[in-house]
Symmetry: C2
Subunit: 235 residues, 2 copies
DNA sequence: AAGTGGTCTAGACCACTTT
DNA sequence: AAGTGGTCTAGACCACTTC
């Protein structure tokens, strides 16, 4: 094993917290006390404590000390990629159509453009070996000399479609998950009964100045419409 | 302003990454070079770099150097608390009923208990000033001398209901979001048309040994069924 | 052999809180 | 005044990669 000292101290403290020996509100020993106890330097202790801080277990107040935090039970991590739908490993994409049109008012509003602004609309069907999984629509404002690479249209996820001169880190993303009434064309493409409601994952992308640069709507039907999120302090 | 040195260096590097001056795959200067350039010590430089690492911008390889990461575009943060439904600040809770029963097979399976195991079922209606928002059901296995505080039943979120002797950090949580066919009783409670489908947020809680300790299902109808998630490297 | 990051020491000064 | 965390210095040795 031979863990570094800071790792060892980190594990011990984390363990005490997970076992409930240290509870929210409790104060930790001071840096100097811990350094003495573990026969190490203050810096090494600080390394352990800063890791516990980063992982959301403790916080510190100058002149006072370190305290166990009240955990935030409402925070989850959600992994979403329309081309990599969780459980299904082998997800394929089939291009149904591409065109530049004036979309309806709701889409224009979300993209913060006027109604006469041209928008590239990309329609795709996502399917596995067992059949269709989802119907996918992208709306990308057609302007600013932002080229959309041909290859990307069929096989790329939205963030990669709108990849720009600037940094991929500068993109801000939002998801909104909701039910949409059945849509004749989509339900047909997904081999679903006409009246079946669809689970929509709507993905909005914004650039560095918070301008919308892309909107994606992925429609899931039946058993495929399960979006998962998780939260775990233990790992 | 008078920022500490490590903060200053962190901001400068983060800025270069966000502006695209440093792209994924690029290598950073070495710790020693940066320390010289900024007339500071290696430790101070390392502090800046470890912060960039923590925030997912860079990674390092011993003997090689620091590299800009390819950002993970599929990761989102989702905030969910059945009693604090995002936009609506004032959310009230009305207890509809509590009983100990044997729930159906699907619930038993999710709770990993046999079908004759008693389960506490808590039914609540969540509403704002403008009317009902959601219908909420909790299933809590009735055993192990886990007391459920009376006050908690009406006004607590699931993680607080199953608060235990052990630590609140030890709980593992999962969410699953999906559509469920309309339910006569629920739709009526939510003042919805009989046939309206419902958006379900299913919350599973596990203890330190990965044993299920609680299951919550929150049913949203119509306009209230919008679950949001976000991702932002810029903040 | 030289350079890189990973770990660690033994100090120092500061602003802050507590007594 | 004494103790706390926040910042910082100037070293050191190690394992690793590159040349």
């Amino acid at each position: 094993m031979n863990l570094p000292i800071y790792r060892h101290l980190f594990n011990q403290l984390k363990d005490k917290i997970l076992r409930g020996e240290l509870k929210p509100g409790d104060m930790l020993q001071s840096e100097n006390e811990l350094a003495q106890q573990y026969s190490t330097s203050r810096l090494t202790v600080r390394k352990s404590l800063s890791m516990l801080d980063n992982e959301g277990f403790i916080t510190s107040f100058p002149g006072k000390g370190y305290y166990i935090i009240e955990p935030d039970h409402s925070k989850y991590t959600l992994l979403f990629n329309e081309l990599n739908s969780g459980s299904k490993n082998n997800l394929y994409s089939k291009l149904l159509g591409v065109n530049a049109t004036n979309p309806d008012a709701a889409i224009c509003q979300k993209l913060q453009i006027s109604c006469d602004h041209k928008v590239v609309v990309i329609l795709r069907l996502l399917y596995s070996n067992e059949g269709p999984i989802a119907y996918d629509v992208k709306y990308i404002p057609y302007d600013r000399g932002r080229p959309i690479v041909e290859k990307a249209i069929e096989y790329a996820a939205l963030p990669d479609m709108v990849a720009k001169k600037s940094s991929p880190f500068a993109i801000k993303k939002e998801l909104c998950i909701y039910i949409e009434k059945s849509n004749q064309e989509i339900n047909k493409s997904l081999c679903l009964p006409e009246s079946e409601p669809l689970l929509v994952v709507e993905q909005s992308l914004y650039d560095y100045e918070n301008k919308p640069i892309g909107l994606g709507k992925t429609y899931y039907g039946g058993e495929h419409g399960k979006i998962r999120a998780y939260s775990n302090m233990r790992e």
